[in-house]
Subunit: 185 residues, 2 copies
DNA sequence: TTGTAATTTCAACACGGTGTCGATTAACAT
DNA sequence: ATGTTAATCGACACCGTGTTGAAATTACAA
């Protein structure tokens, strides 16, 4: 029996999530203590253990939320749009929520989030990408493109968005596209 | 005045480094305590603080050592060799030391190491790579190639080396090479 | 071989975060 | 108003941390 969480519980969790995001903007994730987190959220430490096991647990919760929101957004961008347009919309979305994504991507605890998030987010885009026929090498090629693209995104965020989203989108598309022939040899 | 470390100190540090590598094969880096590390190394905890500040400090030391050894190896591969040959030699070196590199790359604490290590290791190779003329986009293209290649390597390690080194080397080379034209538009 | 300096050991300490109690108070829905 | 659910509070034992001062051990050179 899946029980819906009461508004009260949702609020408590929200307080904790907000507090964590705040603290992550001030110091590395790993040196944020549960004690500290609760003080910031103005909650009793015992309450924390009622909902989460540790800091990572809270972070995963945040990440799931962001991921779902982003996927939702991507789904509603429209289907009558070019692949480059899709990528651009995605990048623009990141930029529009820069503070949040900067925190998540550059937190030092990003490893897990990055893979998961990009996996979901790019699922929408992936379908529009060319198929790389080589079965043996395909997983490697996809890994290559996925992580290459991901780190362009990260560098773009780190730079403070030194290029327009459309330009980065075009670059990523071209890079992925240029690889298309590789497998056919 | 740079003082050389006594053999005794070197040995103590070696014990700690060995113990850490061992423990990293048993559990995630972040839940390895200093106490535990010293017990494994059969050293007093006080001794630890004589040489290192924390676990990360030891890890960095290991990483520097491995990096230098690898760069050394790469320098002696020979100059009269193709770029693909260079990459292959590099990959083979990883494979020959699989246990160690698996631990380092997949430790969950790999983020830092990966960037640093690949930066150095691929410096040898990079010179042989084509130059991507576009100044504005060059840093992004290099990021793309670097991280794409890096994650192919990681996936190759994770897979337990399901392809011969030569094949992976060729793939990486082709992928990087295929991007050459991008900038020229 | 012996003396000296460097290194490791040991016991002890205060400190702070952790996770878990049981009991109490508050919030909320019916 | 009542019963259920959630949050608070104080307290507790536990464990890892980092540092201290003194003692024991080791390395090495004279």
């Amino acid at each position: 029996m899946e029980q819906k969480e009461s508004r009260r519980v949702q609020m408590t969790k929200l307080l904790l999530k907000t507090a964590l995001i705040e603290l992550m903007q001030e110091k590395p994730f790993r040196q944020i203590t549960i004690k500290e987190l609760c003080e910031r959220a103005d909650l009793n430490r015992t309450t924390f253990y009622l909902h989460y096991a540790d800091q990572t647990d809270v972070l995963r919760d945040i990440e799931r939320e962001i991921r779902d929101k982003t996927v939702d957004y991507m789904k509603n961008v429209g289907t009558d749009i070019s692949t480059i347009g899709l990528i651009e919309a995605f990048l623009q979305y990141i930029k529009d929520n820069a503070k949040l994504f900067r925190t998540l991507f550059l937190s030092g605890e990003a490893e897990g989030f990055t893979q998961n998030f990009m996996g979901y987010a790019l699922a929408e885009i992936k379908e529009n990408l060319p198929y790389y026929g080589d079965e043996l090498h395909e997983k490697y090629i996809l890994t290559f493109l996925m992580n290459g693209s991901t780190h362009i995104l990260i560098e773009w965020i780190e730079s403070g968005f030194d290029l327009p989203a459309s330009e980065v989108a075009t670059l990523i598309y071209k890079l992925c596209d240029s690889v298309r022939d590789i497998a056919k040899e």
